[in-house]
Amino acid sequence: MAGTGIGARVERKEDFRFITGKGNYTDDINREGQTHAFFLRSPHAHATIKSIDTSKAAAMPGVVGILTGADIEKDKVGGLICGWMIHNKDGSPMRAGAHPALAQGKVRYVGDHVAVVIAETLAEAKDAAEAIVVDYGKLAPVVDLATATKKGNPVIHDAAPDNQVYDWHLGDKAATEAAFKKAKHITKIDLVNNRLIPNAMEPRAAVGDYNAGEEAFTLYTTSQNPHVARLVLSAFIGIAPEHKLRVIAPDVGGGFGSKIFIYAEETVCVWAAKKVGRPVKWVADRTEEFLSIAHGRDHATHAEMAMDENGKILGLRVKTRANLGAYLSTFSSSVPTYLYAPLLSGQYNIPAIYAEVEAVYTNTAPVDAYRGAGRPEATFVIERIVEVAARELGMDPAAFRRKNFIKAFPHQTPVIMCYDVGDYDASLKKAMEIHDVKGFAKRKRESAKAGKLRGLGYSAYIEACGIAPSAAVGSLGAGVGLWESAEVRVNPVGTVEVLTGSHSHGQGHETTFAQLVAGRLGIPIENVSIVHGDTDKVQMGMGTYGSRSGAVGMSAIVKALDKVEAKAKKVASFVLEASEADIDFKDGKFSVKGTDKSVDFASVALQAYIAHKFTGEQLEPGLKEGAFYDPTNFTFPSGVHIAEIEIDPQTGVTTVAKWTAVDDFGVIINPMIVEGQVHGGIAQGIGQAMLEGAFYDAGGQLLTASYMDYAMPRADDLPSFRVDHTTTPCPSNPLGIKGCGEAGAIASPAAMINAITDALGHETIAMPATPQAVWRAAQASLAKAAE
């Protein structure tokens, strides 16, 4: 499509600054008189702090100040919070231990924050940190997810004496048991959803600044949601009231969930700025990021699915253990519960589902939302068990899926969600055609001739995006509403600034949001600026995560545009001397019905501010409108990914030979950007399936704390992807958007493992399916074949 409106492949407005080195990331910001912070971190997974001696370090060159947990306590700086209350099966609240920004009396993971050294230069801060003497009382660590709650284990938080955070469930247990009693076939699987480290390429950073004259703080930070950061730092941590705290998240170099959360380091930087009377800057090095950024996933699951004699699914029961690490991060408790279990129905008509989730503390980094957050874990469970069931029943995996697809909408699942619209078969059919599934058998024979094992795997995923109706999530334990805000400011010359509570850190909002506005108002896209990421400019917002910025953030803009258009029509009626009811607005022109009288948008904007054509009694001058949009339902993007892989049994190397994705994201604003989101998500999912994994040793030391040890997907690990779409517009928001940001990461791990197990001929492979693991599995397959 030509032009710049909805559906056009518009080149990104933000790109110029990024390709010319003119971006403005937090580390690029330097304040007059700035100092540098370095965090002394715990080398132990679990220890008491008997004493901290900073006297020698404090006397070292360049040191401006050293702060510890004792200072936090003295200044009554509140602890970091978890904003989602989960209740146990018995109705009691989850057990949350305190989370001070600097450790008080105890450290609970390697990388935990013991002290901060603030110095003239970073090198001086690092040198001084080495001179701090900490007397630790080492405690036995709890590292293993499976045994974390064993009786007699060391206790990580007194508030949780058996290291259990909660024991939660969802669904109808009795109905599910009854379904299993009727079953002709039951498929059982055990799965591990491996722990990942998000690894946005920009490490976290923060600059805290305090203006003593105004008694006001400014925090520059790498955040996906600066307003939520301000809310938490103000209302819970108590840095300053909101009107005395400005949070700016400038260009942010990727987030993937990991920059949603409010961390110790930014809290300390903004607090310390007042303490030392100078700006305080901290930039994580990559190892610090590995150690202390919130990790993702880390589930162990046993699942069982019941089927009748015709291969119809009767019921599903799932038991999951989730590792939340040493402290409850900002939204951690919601990930293995309400972002997970409500998606266990997948694309299938499953009459009865019962899920139990036990979340535990361990002496490892906190675990929270990472691209997909709960939904990749749910998809991995349902898409693996469906695949295994089809294989056990001797049915074609695509046919088995088709047989069990939900075909009528709306569809109420047994686990909260009411799917509004979809056409799952359309995506499957299109994906199979594009992929040439028919030619797979021939390709497999050719691979076999070359001594290679070829496999094909499906993943028919669904996710819940457009997060979320505020009252609904409130009833489930969320501490905040999940609406979004927008303000459309029309300038007297007809250019437009849109202030949004969404935040762009790679998603291209400056382009897609401008496409919407330019198209709607009939003005050139160059005349639209998108303003985000500054709490002094944008009044309030909930930020960007959960693929919500199109479905929720743009819906707020639509609401504000509706108001702008209504007001502009009033202005135009005075300009054109006609009744308001007779004014039409189309292609940037206001016209009087049935006449050739018209006036363009820019002229109406000017008249709104000159205010010569109407009196104050008739109309308020100006053209600026705001709106809050609270969604009425989740959105349900879905689709089918097909992975085709080839294994060299001699080396265990798995090559992704072919990848097809057909997604239904509803209405798409900019296909180029949406395809880019899918590519990146697939890469992260392939990474999870065959490369990535965060591993701790038994002592709680992170073994994968650099790019030498943690296998990030590189260009030669991946193929080019075939990405296409089907469309059922979302009925619950004005643009029909469902959201696209996480789909790739949600769909792809199951497709990969289904393909690898297809090639191997057995189900025993865990993620990451590294060459060594695949080689072992392939040798077992070959040995069995030789018998």
Binding site: R12, D15, I19, T20, G21, D27, A123, G254, G676
Partner: protein, 162 residues
């Protein structure tokens, strides 16, 4: 503190620096050229790639004093005034960037790739040559397309100039 002098983006610069100062620190802090980024500390990610004497290097593992007298080009020096370098333009046209953090290093590495291997680069060559640059956003799909197109455009410009 030793004095170091070099030519950065065509400009002679010099400064007294702590001898442990890395080239990337010299560029970012001393020269305020913040387009060159630091994404790791093990010389793996490539966000810091600049050209020294015409060759791509990782400025996070190069001492500033080791670049005495060198000619350094950073992402800020690639465009000819307001006219983008063909590789920069190709990254925009082919959506070869999302968050933009790895992009300067990617573009500098890509130009170096063309300088070494020519204008006709296969997908396989590009993917192999990108082993020193990590991107977390794009899945590399559009970066590969951008580099292929950027290389061809650089070739076209050379032909046009001849």
């Amino acid at each position: 503190m030793p004095k170091v002098s070099m030519t950065v983006n065509g400009k002679r610069v010099s400064a007294n620096v702590d001898s442990r100062t890395l080239l990337v620190e010299f560029l970012r802090s001393e020269q305020r050229l913040t387009g060159t980024h630091v994404g790791c500390d093990t010389s793996q990610c490539g966000a810091c790639v600049v050209h020294v004497n015409g060759k791509a290097i990782k400025s996070c593992t190069t001492l500033a004093v080791a670049c005495e007298g060198a000619v350094v080009t950073t992402i800020e020096g690639l465009a000819n005034g307001t006219e983008l370098h063909p590789m920069q333009a190709a990254f925009r046209t082919h959506h070869g960037l999302q968050c933009g953090f790895c992009t300067p290093g990617m573009i500098m590495a890509a130009v170096d790739m063309v300088n070494r291997l020519g204008y006709d680069l296969s997908e396989e060559t590009i993917r192999h040559e990108l082993e020193g640059n990590i991107c977390r956003c794009t899945g590399y799909h559009n970066i590969v397309k951008a580099i292929q197109a950027g290389a061809a455009a650089m070739g076209g410009m050379k032909v046009a100039a001849e």
